[in-house]
């Protein structure tokens, strides 16, 4: 890990097109980040969202629990928009 001391107004550069600038340091550190459009800048790692999705899906896999999947044997409606909802056969899961 690169650890670098910067003052307000100073910056760190990553590659040619990413700049992280220290805007202010008071109670909180305010960072300004300049990056190309295709670089996703987020305070959370994308892996956090992947983990959250995995946990969300875990329940979908668990058939013992209610709401795991569309209730068995119940008629479900496929939301096909903008056309009218279309009923399909009973779920067989």
């Amino acid at each position: 890990m690169l650890i670098s001391q910067r003052k307000e107004g100073e910056a760190v550069n990553i590659g040619d097109d990413i700049e992280i600038r220290i805007i202010s340091v008071r109670r909180k550190v305010v960072l300004g980040i300049i990056a190309p459009r295709d670089v996703k800048v987020t305070t959370r790692k994308l892996s956090d969202f992947a983990l959250e999705n995995t946990m969300a899906a875990a329940h979908g896999l668990n058939r013992e629990k209610p709401f795991a999947a569309p209730p068995e044997g119940e008629q479900c409606i496929v939301l096909s928009f903008p056309a009218k909802p279309r009923k399909i056969a009973k779920t067989d899961r």
Binding site: D48, E52, G60, P70, C76, L79
Partner: protein, 133 residues
């Protein structure tokens, strides 16, 4: 419905069906076409947060094939679903930070990360659901 980029952690899953069961409304099941056992449980974001604001960067608008200068309107142009994580003995949470946005006209979706400060683990527990869990 096509999600060309897949969902975070599920990049191979690009085709889903949205299902509603009359007894489980307003829950929307996001069912994978490829993997029968993969089904997410979701709620429209405004069921959870009535004032939910959705502003998408150009990159996301392009991949959703949303044209026009105006921001897409939830319910008219796009569906905006929060995936739910149901936890044992803890509040069910909704991912408001990375909702699944679906272009209604194009049947095309993307899981986006919104810049607003919503949580990806927004506590949400519907009484009906808590009774069932």
């Amino acid at each position: 419905m096509e999600i060309p980029e897949g969902l975070f952690g599920f990049s191979d899953e690009t085709r889903f069906l949205l299902l509603e069961a009359p007894t489980a409304r307003p829950i929307v099941f996001v069912q994978s076409v490829r993997s029968p056992s993969l089904c997410f449980i979701s709620l429209p974001v405004r069921v959870i947060e009535p004032n939910y604001r959705l502003s998408l960067p150009e990159e996301d608008l392009n991949s959703l094939k949303i044209a026009g200068a105006n921001a897409p309107e939830i319910g008219r142009d796009v569906l905006c679903l929060a995936l739910l994580t149901i936890r044992e003995r803890r509040a069910t949470t909704a991912n408001l930070r990375a909702p699944l946005v679906i272009n209604i006209a194009a049947h095309r979706g993307k899981q986006v990360i919104v810049s607003e400060n919503y949580s990806h683990q927004h506590p949400y527990l519907e009484a009906r659901m808590s009774a069932a869990c």
